[in-house]
């Protein structure tokens, strides 16, 4: 048996890859080079796509910061606001954003009025909606830390802003007065209202 296997082995070892002996490596080398080029191209495209996504994503977020209710990037702004709050836990951020939006909407209303743009009517309802959200945010923070000086100072600043806006933009006076009421409801020892400010009771 060993002899037989030995014979078989001898013939086995005599088999030669004739077709590959001369040019096998050359053709394999071409294949390897092609593979390398494809891999480099793929890597380059991946890097380019990543840079593009990061850049455009960052740009979008930056552009979204100035977005107002009703604008295309506004949902992105609200989403990134929620993400920021998860990590930051600073409840003043949404309050400041709502104030910035109220100011922005008022200024936008004036521009649209000058241009006789029909969207001007929609702006008023947007301002009211935003004032409503502002009110909610203020109440929530007031319950948590309403007595803090920082919070009170912020409300003072907001009130001053709204009062100044009324003079410049009287067409939005009604909405801005509501915003001022919100700041008052958030402040301690409000001099105008009769009650101490939980639910604003009627003025005398």
């Amino acid at each position: 048996m060993n002899e037989s296997i030995g014979k078989l082995k001898k013939e086995y070892l005599n088999v030669e890859p004739d077709a590959l002996m001369e040019s096998g490596w050359q053709s394999l080398e071409v294949r390897i080079d092609r593979h390398r080029s494809i891999r480099r191209l793929f890597t380059f495209l991946v890097i380019l796509s990543t840079v593009f996504l990061l850049t455009s994503g960052t740009l979008s977020v930056q552009m979204a910061k100035a977005a107002l209710p009703g604008e295309l990037l506004y949902p992105l702004k609200r989403t990134s606001e929620k993400v920021v709050i998860i990590f930051n836990k600073d409840r003043n951020i949404p309050i400041e954003n709502r104030v910035q939006e109220i100011v922005g909407l008022v200024e936008k209303e004036e521009r649209l009025e000058k241009e006789n743009d029909l969207r001007q009517e929609q702006i008023h309802s947007k301002i009211l909606e935003t004032v409503g959200e502002y009110s909610q945010e203020v109440l929530e923070v007031k319950e948590d830390s309403g007595s803090s000086d920082n919070f009170q100072n912020r409300l003072d600043s907001h009130r001053g802003k709204f009062e100044s806006l009324i003079k410049q933009h009287p067409t939005c006076a009604k909405e801005l007065e509501q915003a001022i009421e919100v700041t008052k409801s958030g402040q301690n020892g409000d001099s105008n209202s009769g009650g101490s400010g939980s639910s604003g009771g009627g003025k005398d």
């Binding site: 048996m1 037989s4 296997i5 078989l8 082995k9 013939e11 086995y12 070892l13 005599n14 088999v15 030669e16 890859p17 004739d18 077709a19 590959l20 002996m21 096998g24 490596w25 053709s27 394999l28 080398e29 294949r31 390897i32 593979h35």
Partner: protein
């Protein structure tokens, strides 16, 4: 593993194509004849040999020096290439007579004798199924160790010994039937 081979493998892992070219030259015959005796087709064996080396090039970084020789790694990939091919072709039996070419040129008599001898080997081995055939090729023709064969097949050493014993017994029976 021989130091020269080890050096070439390490260089290939670093992307040195020339070093891999030397490994190709060193191991071409081994891989080719194994594949040829698994599928009995000269042209196809050449293609699958190239496929094997291409796959080795792509995956050589995953080769670990402590886990078997480089030849073991090559044969494992070659075996998988053959299996993949056979799966696609779904051929259950290869006729070793099929691909014989007509001798031509000088020394026709020598060519015919060589052809008959090759035919004898093929006829004996082709009667074994693929699993038994590869065991004979690995153990008795390529002289791989039992542990290395175990690594290629993904089986325990004890199991490999039993399988080789059975394959040898079958081959003996085939050769006795021919006499």
């Amino acid at each position: 593993m021989e130091p020269e081979v080890l050096h070439l493998v390490r260089q290939s892992k670093n992307g040195k194509k020339e070093a891999f070219g030397k490994l190709y030259t060193l191991y071409l015959k081994k891989v080719y004849r194994f594949i040829y005796y698994m599928i009995y087709d000269t042209n196809l064996a050449a293609d699958l040999t190239q496929d094997t080396f291409f796959k080795v090039w792509k995956s050589i970084r995953s080769y670990q020096e402590g886990k078997g020789s480089f030849a073991t790694y090559l044969f494992a990939i070659a075996r998988n290439v053959v299996i993949d091919h056979q799966r696609k072709k779904k051929e259950s039996h290869i006729d070793p007579q099929m691909e014989e070419t007509i001798p031509s040129g000088e020394n026709i008599e020598e060519q015919v004798i060589a052809k008959e001898k090759r035919q004898e080997v093929r006829n004996s081995l082709s009667k074994l199924d693929g699993d038994n055939r590869q065991l004979i090729l690995f153990r008795y023709f390529e002289e791989l160790s039992i542990p290395d064969i175990g690594r290629i097949l993904g089986k325990e050493e004890g199991n490999v010994r039993v399988l080789i014993f059975r394959a040898l017994k079958k081959l003996k029976k085939i050769m006795e039937e021919k006499i």
